[in-house]
Every structure is written in C-alpha cells, then in structure tokens.
C-alpha cells in the first residue's frame, strides 16, 4: 500500500510543483517513535543515547506539533492553539503567537491589493495622504511608507532585479491581512488613526483645586500640567474651548505660548484635539451634530476645512525649506565632481563656548581631538540620509 498522506489545504505557493520531493517532507501519520527511527546500529542491543527532553521533543514534534510544520493558508498557526489553556483570559487563541503573553497579538498587515490601491490613489489620483488615511483607516506614516515601497518595487521590476515573489505569497498566507472590501462602506479599518501620544508631563499626579462654578476644560488641564499661569479672563474666553484651539493651532503653531526662560522654555501642553493626527474629524462630528438635516452643507464645510489645512501645511513646509536653504550656500563649480554646501558659522561665545573649545563648536580646533579619537565614543552612524 502506498504511504498515506495527510490532506492539507492547497497553498498557492506550492501548487504547480508538488512533486515527490515535497511529499517526502509531509509527515506520514502512523510514525514510529523517533528513538527507533533514528536507530542506526542494527546489530547493537543498546538504544542510542538520547536525553529525555530530546525524546519528548521529537515525540511532540511528531504528535501535536506536526500541525505546526507547514503553514495553513489564510489562517494563523501558532503554538497557543495547540496548548491546553487554563483560565479564560485568552479570548481568541489564534491571534497569540506567545502562549504566556496575552498582551501581544499578531496584528494584520496590508494585503498586496490594498497596498497597490493606496499607491494608485496617492500617486495617480493625487488624493491627499490625509484623505486616503481616513478612507482605509491606515496611519499617515504607513501610507507614506507604502507609497515609497511600491515605488521602489516598480523601479526594481523595471530594472529586472531579483524579487522574492514566492516568499511574499507565503508570508501573506501566514500572517493576517487587511484587504479591500468590495463595498466601500464595509471597508475594514486597518488600525486606529487618531492615536494620542502620551505626553511625559501628564504622567505626574496633580491636585489642582478648581471652583465648582468654573468650566475647567482640556485646555486648562494642559496648562496646569505644564505649569503655566492661569489665563486672563479676556483671553480665556477666546481660547478656553479645545475646539477653537484645535482649529487655530495647526495653522499657526508659532502662537503656542511658552513657559520658562531661555533654554528651559517649553511649549504649553495643548489639548488632545490639537495633538491627534486627524483633528478635522472632530469638527466634522460637531457639524454632523449641529446640522443633522443638511448633509451637503456639512460635506461642503468639511471639504473647505480639508483644503485650508492642506494649504497651511504646504505653506509651513515651504517656509521651513526656505529657512533651511537660506542658511546654506551651495556652490557647484564647473569641471568638478562635487557640489559644495557652505554653512555660515559665527565664532561667538554661544557657538564655541567660553574658551572657544566647546565640544559642539564647529571645525577643527587646536588641542581638541576629534570624536573618533576619543575613548568610548560610538563610531556606529546615528543616521543615514535618504
């Protein structure tokens, strides 16, 4: 009788070439204990020395562990699923790669069609990153990364460089993925896009007495955490609502008040409304509550807001670029292989220290060894320019 083979679901990575070489690696079901299978000295009566743990391991790998040998297309295959669980804290075992750690789950990755769709929308349809981020529930930084990676992939394909296509197919079968829904209304959000980073200032526990009659908002709480004095009544009337702050601050960040003097000056902690990546969604929700019967008006206002925001961001980017360029003169002589970027340096107490030999001072100075000559200095680069 021919050896019986365990039936498995077909993986698209293996389909055309399921030859005899693969079938040998599929474990046959009725297997002998590994002690006997590894028994090479047929004339000797003594069993080969194998530790108890090693024997247990091979027994487990041949028994319950054999489920883990090959991946199961389009579902995860972790150890947790084959371990008896005591207690009810494990909600859905197929998400947990580590059976003893319920705080880590295997989260989904973007499927290949979704990556290509994101690239298409941003590059070809010229949608803003913000829009695409809200449509698919993907973080804006991730969108930028996807565009960058798909662009690189296209370039490599056109150059005929080697790609790891079967590997990519296998990974996308093993790891949970977020795909595109046929109906755009049912699109599953990939991740939470409005994450508020926990500010270190808010870690402190504070007791701040407030009169009952006073309306103490998120703006005031931020001021208390950063140790800013209470606002004057006139200004407070204008600025105490977090929604107002959220509308103005992203457009004019230089208006944020500073606390402290000199090097210790810090910006006052802003309310969550101004610090989340998509503040325009709050304004949209407020409009929806305010004008429940006028969806067109709400949409119009939302679009206006998006446009203003994009313009303001663009203006800020340009200003920053101009500021950077103003500091640096670039010289590209003819017949030269190099471009020179020259930065103006002033020799003052601030730039070189009181004795003119401060470690941060520019250029080479007599008696001050360069960093790579000093003991204990790291020579590993700290950044690589893209």
């Amino acid at each position: 009788m021919a050896p019986r083979i365990q039936s498995r679901r077909v993986s698209s990575t293996l389909l055309p070439y399921l030859g005899p070489s693969l079938s040998t690696s599929i474990p046959s079901l009725p297997s002998l204990p590994s002690v006997f299978s590894t028994f090479s000295r047929s004339f000797s009566a003594t069993a080969p020395s194998q530790s108890k743990l090693r024997r247990e391991m091979f027994e487990w790998l041949d028994g319950p562990g054999s489920e883990l040998k090959h991946h199961k297309p389009n579902r995860t295959n972790y150890v947790s699923q084959y371990r008896k669980m005591i207690g009810k804290e494990y909600r859905d075992l197929k998400q947990y790669p580590f059976p003893e750690n319920p705080t880590f789950i295997s989260q989904s990755i973007l499927s290949l069609p979704l990556q290509n769709e994101i690239y298409k929308r941003v590059v070809e349809e010229k949608q803003t990153v913000r829009e695409v981020s809200v449509t698919f529930g993907v973080d804006m930084r991730r969108i930028a990364a996807v565009v960058r990676l798909v662009e690189l992939e296209k370039r490599q394909r056109s150059q005929g460089k080697p790609l790891a296509l079967p590997y990519a197919r296998a990974i996308h079968e093993m790891v949970p993925t977020t795909g595109i829904a046929r109906n755009p209304d049912q699109q599953k959000m990939h991740e939470s896009i409005n994450d508020l980073p926990m500010h270190p200032l808010t870690g402190a526990q504070m007791f701040y007495p407030v009169p009952e009659s006073r309306s103490f908002t998120r703006v005031d709480a931020g001021r208390v955490f950063s140790g800013a004095p209470a606002q004057e009544h006139k200004i407070a009337e204008k600025w105490s609502s977090p929604h107002h702050v959220a509308e103005r601050v992203p457009k004019r960040p230089h208006l944020i008040e500073l606390v402290g003097k000199g090097d210790n000056a810090r910006q006052v902690l802003q309310p969550a409304d101004a610090r989340i990546p998509h503040p325009q969604l709050i304004a949209l929700e407020r409009d929806l509550a305010k004008y429940p019967d006028e969806p067109l008006l709400v949409e119009q206002r939302h679009q206006d807001r998006l446009r203003d925001q994009a313009e303001a961001e663009q203006k800020q980017r340009e200003a920053a670029q101009a500021r950077r360029e103003r500091k640096i003169t670039s010289v590209s002589p003819q017949e030269s292989r190099f471009d020179y970027r020259i930065k103006e340096v002033a020799f003052t107490t601030q730039t070189t220290g009181r004795d003119g030999r401060a470690p941060w001072a520019p250029g080479r100075r007599y008696g001050v060894p360069s960093d790579d000559r000093k003991r204990g200095m790291r020579k590993v680069p700290t950044r690589v320019e893209a």
């Binding site: 083979i5 498995r8 199961k72 972790y78 750690n101 989260q107 590997y167 409005n194 709050i282 950044r383």
Partner: protein
C-alpha cells in the same frame, strides 16, 4: 561575538529564532512558580529569561546605555467623544459613578515594553520583518554586507533605526533564510551539475566560436532543445572569465541570451531559467492531467473534487507515471505559452485555463534551479508559521524584501508592540524568609 545562543533543551531558553528546538521550548515554557523562592532568585530567573530572548547579542553595558525608563504609549482617541465633550463634564465631578459604564479601561502594559529600545536595532528589526530566521542570522546578513539602509550599505548590526528609515535585505539571502533547505539528494545533484559544468568548460575551449556561428541562424526555425543548449553555452562562456572575452563580444552574447529567453518565456522580465523548463513543464502536465482524470474515476463518491485530493493523487508517483499524457490540448497550450506565442485556449475547460494561468505565473517567479542554495521551487521552511507575525511599527514589502521603520514601538491599552514571550501577570513578591 561568540554565539552563546545555543538551542539547549535542558535550559529551555526562548530565543529570537525559528528553530524547532526553540518552538518546543516555547511550547513547554510556563511562568515559574515563585512562592517558595527568594526575591533574588526570582529576579535572577526573570532577567535570564528576558535577556535570552531580547538581547542575547547585546552586552550589558550597551543595554545600560540604551535603556530608558520613559516608555512610549498612545491612547486611541474617538473624535465623536472629543466633539461631544470639552472635558469640563469630567472635571466637574458631578454624578461620577452613577453611569453604568461596565467597561473598565484596559491597563496599558508598560512592563512589556521594557525592551522597546532594542527593537530599534537593525538586526532585531530584520528578524521582526521576517527577513531572517533568527536575530543571529540577521546579524550575519548585516555584517556580510547584504543589508542597505536608505540605499547605503550598512555593516553595523547595532545601528539604531530612526523613524522613516528604509532597510532592504538581498532577496536571495531572504529566500535562503526562509526557504526549506535542500535535502542530501538535491545537494548531490547540484554538486554534480556544478562539476559537470566545470569539466565541460575545460574540455571545450572553442565553444565561443560555435555560439558565434549559430547566433546568426534564425531562432524560430531551430528546435526548442537547440535554443536551450545555446543559452547554456552562452551562459557558461559569459561566466568563465572577464579577461577572456572582448567587451563587444560579451554584449553580443548577452543580447543573444536575452533574445532566446524572450522566445522561451512569455514576459521579458521573468527570471526563468531555461535549463529547468522541461522538468517544470512535465511536472505541470502531470498535475493537470491528474486534475482532469480524477473526476472521471471517482465520480460516484465525490462529485466535487477538492484541491487537497488532487494533491494526494499527485503525491503518489507510481500511479501517475503509468498513464499516458491525457490532456494534450493543455500541454500544447502550455508549450505555446512557454514559447511566447499566442495561446489557443479554445479546447480547455475553465478550470484548466485557470490552472494553466496560475502555473505559468508561478513557473516564472518560482523556477526549479539547482544553483540556488535552497530547495527549489521555493517553499517556506518548516515550523515558520508558528513564528510568523509582523509588528505594526514596521511596514514591510516582501516582494523586494524592504521594510520601513515607521515609528518607535508603543504600548496602547491592552496591547504592547514589543513581543516578549512571557507576560508579567503580577509583580514578584518577596517571600517571608528574605
């Protein structure tokens, strides 16, 4: 640095590795029973376990320099809630506790994030992106110069990635690290092929001239076998020595090789290797033939054949070889497709056309090739799926084996992004004796 990360079963340490020993250790690991142990003993075990997994390749002084007690976390905000309330309601404190909000806020697992700074390391990030089968292997890739960061070669495994850095590993290395290894027969086969090639080269020094002659012949007229032989010759000549051939001849040879490939394969950018084409083709027809023959035999039992059954049938080699080629039309169509001609798919069923398309596509990107260091066609290595996860702080493109480090790992309510194999459920308690 010496590799102390052995897969010892007696110590049972969990490592950043996909080996089956590690899998067994992970399977049998239990949180130690601490009630009769001193505080020092508890700390000792906890540190040993954590270090074995996270930073076995990192010296203690390095870790001390990197450690930060300020752990990053985020709170997902709901714009609906932010729009409804400006915070004054919560601060008024009236009626607290009266609302029947049964859902308790989840705890942010800060303790799980203690080793977050190590996730910035290049070698660890490569392992997390699933480009290497262990952190040690990732480290080796970096040291051997197979990794670029932002397009520049980076040889320091301890390079700390900055948000936005794009790192890329050589796809061949990744396929080797994640693919099933060759068995001893395949190894011997490739060794023999290599020896044969070397012997042919030494015997046949005039091959260069031969190719030059046949180059002029019309490619379409010559048979398929001839074409393949030509490509092999051209390849061997090209790979022989840089100084032996003038540059112009080399260009001609390359152009010739390209032209033949274009005939043999459907698309120009395919990486198909022609010497293995025949073998693939015969295997493909075998598979398709069983697919067609199967429903005829067992119609009464199973009206709808599942794909797994096809596999079972195919995996029994004796049965298959006895039968003659059943699906001539399909093999014809495949031949046409492989030679870059128009495919006549009129005689094929829908199922067959689909199989043909898929097989052709896969044949192009997953060819049989004995020169590769891994078993071909490529398959994922065993027990890989048990370790397969990609954390959210990385965005990975597997096709080009590149990934972007988006941001530093963060904790959020109920979830940590750093994957330690064990969780601290309760703080260690000192026993009465200490």
């Amino acid at each position: 640095m010496r590799n102390r990360a052995s897969n010892s079963l007696s110590r049972g340490k969990i490592r950043q590795s996909w080996s089956k020993y590690n899998l067994f250790n992970l399977h049998r690991y239990r949180v130690p029973f601490n009630h009769n142990r001193s505080f020092f003993q508890q700390k000792w075990t906890a540190k040993a376990t954590a270090r074995a997994y996270h930073g076995e390749q990192v010296r203690e002084s390095q870790w001390k320099r990197m450690f930060s007690h300020r752990i990053r976390s985020v709170i997902p905000m709901n714009p609906l809630h932010l729009a409804a309330d400006d915070g004054s309601r919560a601060s008024a404190g009236r009626g607290s506790g009266l609302e029947g909000d049964a859902k308790q806020p989840q705890i942010t697992p800060y303790t799980q994030m203690a080793f977050a700074p190590l996730e910035r390391r290049l070698d660890v990030a490569i392992f997390r992106a699933m480009f290497a089968s262990s952190a040690r292997q990732a480290r080796q890739f970096v040291i051997h110069g197979a990794v670029t960061v932002n397009g520049q070669k980076m040889r320091h495994p301890s390079y700390l990635l900055n948000p936005g850095d794009l790192f890329q590993v050589d796809p061949e290395r990744v396929m080797f690290a994640t693919g099933a290894p060759k068995n001893k027969y395949e190894r011997r086969e490739s060794r023999q092929l290599k020896q044969k090639d070397a012997a042919e080269e030494t015997v046949n020094p005039e091959a260069e001239e031969k190719v030059g002659k046949v180059e002029k012949a019309d490619a379409k007229e010559s048979s398929r076998d001839n074409l393949q032989a030509l490509v092999v010759q051209a390849k061997s000549i090209l790979s022989r020595g840089k100084n032996q051939l003038p540059a112009k001849r080399k260009q001609e040879l390359r152009g010739f090789q390209k032209a033949v490939r274009r005939v043999l394969s459907r698309s120009d950018r395919s990486t198909i290797l022609t010497d293995s084409l025949e073998a693939q083709f015969s295997e493909l027809t075998l598979l398709l033939k069983t697919k067609q023959a199967e429903p005829k035999d067992s119609k009464a039992e199973k009206p709808v054949p599942r794909p797994s059954e096809v596999e079972e049938n195919e995996a029994v080699p004796g049965e298959v070889e006895e039968e003659p080629f059943a699906s001539d039309k399909l093999s014809e169509a495949f031949q046409q497709a492989a030679q870059g001609e128009e495919v006549d798919s009129s005689g094929l069923t829908k199922h067959e056309t689909f199989a043909l398309k898929r097989a052709l596509a896969q044949m192009h990107d997953n060819p049989l090739d004995s020169t590769k260091p891994y078993a071909t066609p490529w398959q994922p290595r065993e027990y890989m799926s048990a370790f397969a996860f990609i954390p959210r702080y990385l965005e990975v493109n597997q096709n080009i084996c590149a990934a972007v480090y988006l941001r530093h790992p963060v904790a959020r309510p109920g979830l940590a992004e750093v994957p330690p194999p064990l969780a601290t459920r309760s703080a260690p308690r000192p026993t009465a004796g200490t």
